[in-house]
Point group: C2
Chain length 474, copies 2
Amino acid sequence: MKVDTLIINADLFTMKGEGVGYVDEGSIAIDRGVIVETGLTEHLLKEYSAEEVIDATDKMVLPGFVDAHIHTYWGTLRGISQDSSMWMHKGVGPYKRKLTNAQRLSGSKMIVLEALAAGTTTFGDYGSPINDIAAFYSKIGARASLTGMIKEVPEVLDNLEEGDLYPFDKSIGEQTLKENLELIEKWHGKHNNRITTLMGPQGPDFMSVDMLKKVKKIATQKQLKIHMHVAQASRESKQILGRYNKRSVAFLNDLGYLDNSLIAVHLTDATKEEIKTLVNREVSMTLCSGAIGLIRGIAPPASEFINEGGTVALGTDQPSGNNCNQIINEMKLTALFNKLKFKSPETMPAWKVLRMATIEGAKVLGLNNEIGSLEKGKKADIIFVDLKEKTMQPVIKYPMRNHVPNLVYSARGSEIKQVMVNGETLYKNGEFLTVNEDEIVEEAQRMSTELTRSISQEAFEKTSNYEFMKSEKL
Amino acid sequence: MKVDTLIINADLFTMKGEGVGYVDEGSIAIDRGVIVETGLTEHLLKEYSAEEVIDATDKMVLPGFVDAHIHTYWGTLRGISQDSSMWMHKGVGPYKRKLTNAQRLSGSKMIVLEALAAGTTTFGDYGSPINDIAAFYSKIGARASLTGMIKEVPEVLDNLEEGDLYPFDKSIGEQTLKENLELIEKWHGKHNNRITTLMGPQGPDFMSVDMLKKVKKIATQKQLKIHMHVAQASRESKQILGRYNKRSVAFLNDLGYLDNSLIAVHLTDATKEEIKTLVNREVSMTLCSGAIGLIRGIAPPASEFINEGGTVALGTDQPSGNNCNQIINEMKLTALFNKLKFKSPETMPAWKVLRMATIEGAKVLGLNNEIGSLEKGKKADIIFVDLKEKTMQPVIKYPMRNHVPNLVYSARGSEIKQVMVNGETLYKNGEFLTVNEDEIVEEAQRMSTELTRSISQEAFEKTSNYEFMKSEKL
């Protein structure tokens, strides 16, 4: 049989089954972006002839990573807010308030390049201007599961006292809902389902009950998942308690939100009982170890959610906050943070975080029929890791394999030499094939300079970085 | 004045003073491997002419990293022991027992390449065959502060029951002491002090009182520092309690070990009071966040030691255990682990771990008169970070600088494009200038295959990886 592409001689990790699905001397036949067959090289070479044969000798070949929660639009702000106890207010605040849509979009593009070159093929991107961001995913060729951020609270809240409830502004709600609906209308299912969409109420504390009900109703009608920050901090719990005299999970339960269409992000403030309730109701979870570790000093409840039987995806969150948008970093931090939390090196082994980064991530986004593992009928979203790189060396195959531990605990992202989505190569040996990297990086730098230079000295002096600058710590 | 090298137009972080010592449009004049002056490019261009002018536009230039505790000789074993509650016994054991000196040396070389390319210029290498390893540092041109590992306990302990005291073998003690003394004799002060040496009693539990006294006496006579694992685990505490009826710190105090010549590594099992005692006696500390996090699920007491006023260096420890020998990884993990431990994002800010990786690390090794900061009279051990790499983008200079947070929280090691020791470039744009990378990596791979294929199925079935292999998790 004639196919478009045949990958041969790979150390293949399909992620099929309950483990990592290893195939020695592995091969993949791809036609029109879809995997026709996986198996042994010698078998597939007999059955298929191909336009393009990719020799993956000395390569670890596996499904592309799923980043289930990423706010790329903060890209121009990397490094301006960390080591602060009030990350949003004393760090990002003055910059965020001035961020234009053009600046957001330019930062977004740069972060997509960073993540894609490090193996992310599916982007759970969440934010605004999401329709422009969608156009960029359309162009670059990556898979995207996009969410507009619906909220009724102004972008930056000034003069709010401890204990004050957030003000709601219906016009912001209508506008942000409109943006999310436009996204769905315009992009859902585009490019043979390479781009899909979700509904994005920012969090239970960021809008009125009316708006929450409206969003849920639309999501049900359109059969879309809901992507939402839930129990993300004590701040949220205080808002919901103050307004409704209950906690977030109980509140969302009363609104009919707790079902398998809900993706709950963070859950840092959720109790053990609440986690049990969420899992029982088939809610799935996305966690962002790097971001929550850095901005709050907390390890999200990954093990707790998994131990109840729940499905967990990884996300890199926003560039200023995490500062790093590479799933390979999230795998390592998630494994290590959970070992520390439970004082046990057995907790959260390498294979488990690799599943979270691939097949479990796909399940959370509702895309596991299409991606997350390399098997017949799935889309060919594939990454190639160079085993000749020092950080992947030595390669051991007997009596055990060390590919997965080395990928999780040693690799740093630069070992990924080729990234393919729908069978099309988007990145190879440091070069992007569908966009111009230099232009994108230079634009983001220009936009960032424009933004940061517009901050007044007075506004800057209110940030925690002011003290660091004064004492020559930056 | 005529000098060998002039670096110009750098975003220069000298690490001079109490902070990071930033100089905008910075310049460094270097002659015969020594820094003659640092300052503004326009000033230095007027005062100096140079054989070689390095234009460091778009580069962050800073002192090379100090890895104060690294066992490179485990290099052929990367990835064979993790996610196990008995890392040594159920992971490394069967391999370690068979490791030959040739295999150790080949692994060592590969790890040195990995670390050097990621910015490590000073190697606190500790192990055997240390004289052969010294010869490699001599050749490659890196700075090394080397330690032979003195012990009286056999390499691998079989049939030891819980509570049994380790057997001591005087002949092993004499042989390992001899190796350390040969090292000192042959290498201390070589290459204009590029190679220095320390005394290395492995730990208080690994030898008799007689040997500990002998080592301390020699170190005092020779005015050498002592590099020693101290209070590294409850296992050690049990041995010392069982043998001497006191804990490690009290025991070492009675032997006269607690003074400014002692570098105590790990201290994971040290109490608050013991830490206070150590700091008061001017003992310094080296911690290995990645290794101890991964193999024990514990964050070492870095903040605790610093808060008492102590000096702390970073180390990457051994490749199987940490699996990663890059100080850039240790900076990030040390910052994050301490934030988690104290549930505070303010704990262990970026500038602090950068100081630990440079000037504080130099202090711990007793080399701060020569390295650790870029200032007049110090050796030119310098690294160049490419600010055009996406992970360092955008670069913000006003109203604050984001170089240091981006280096610590975003960079992954591959941003380092040039590494210089004593003013000599050892690595540039992916190429090693003094050794053949391909030969070294291929040899390590060959040696690793030879080693791992010599393991019996029976021995392998006793490791925790056997279960992972059986269930297709590797």
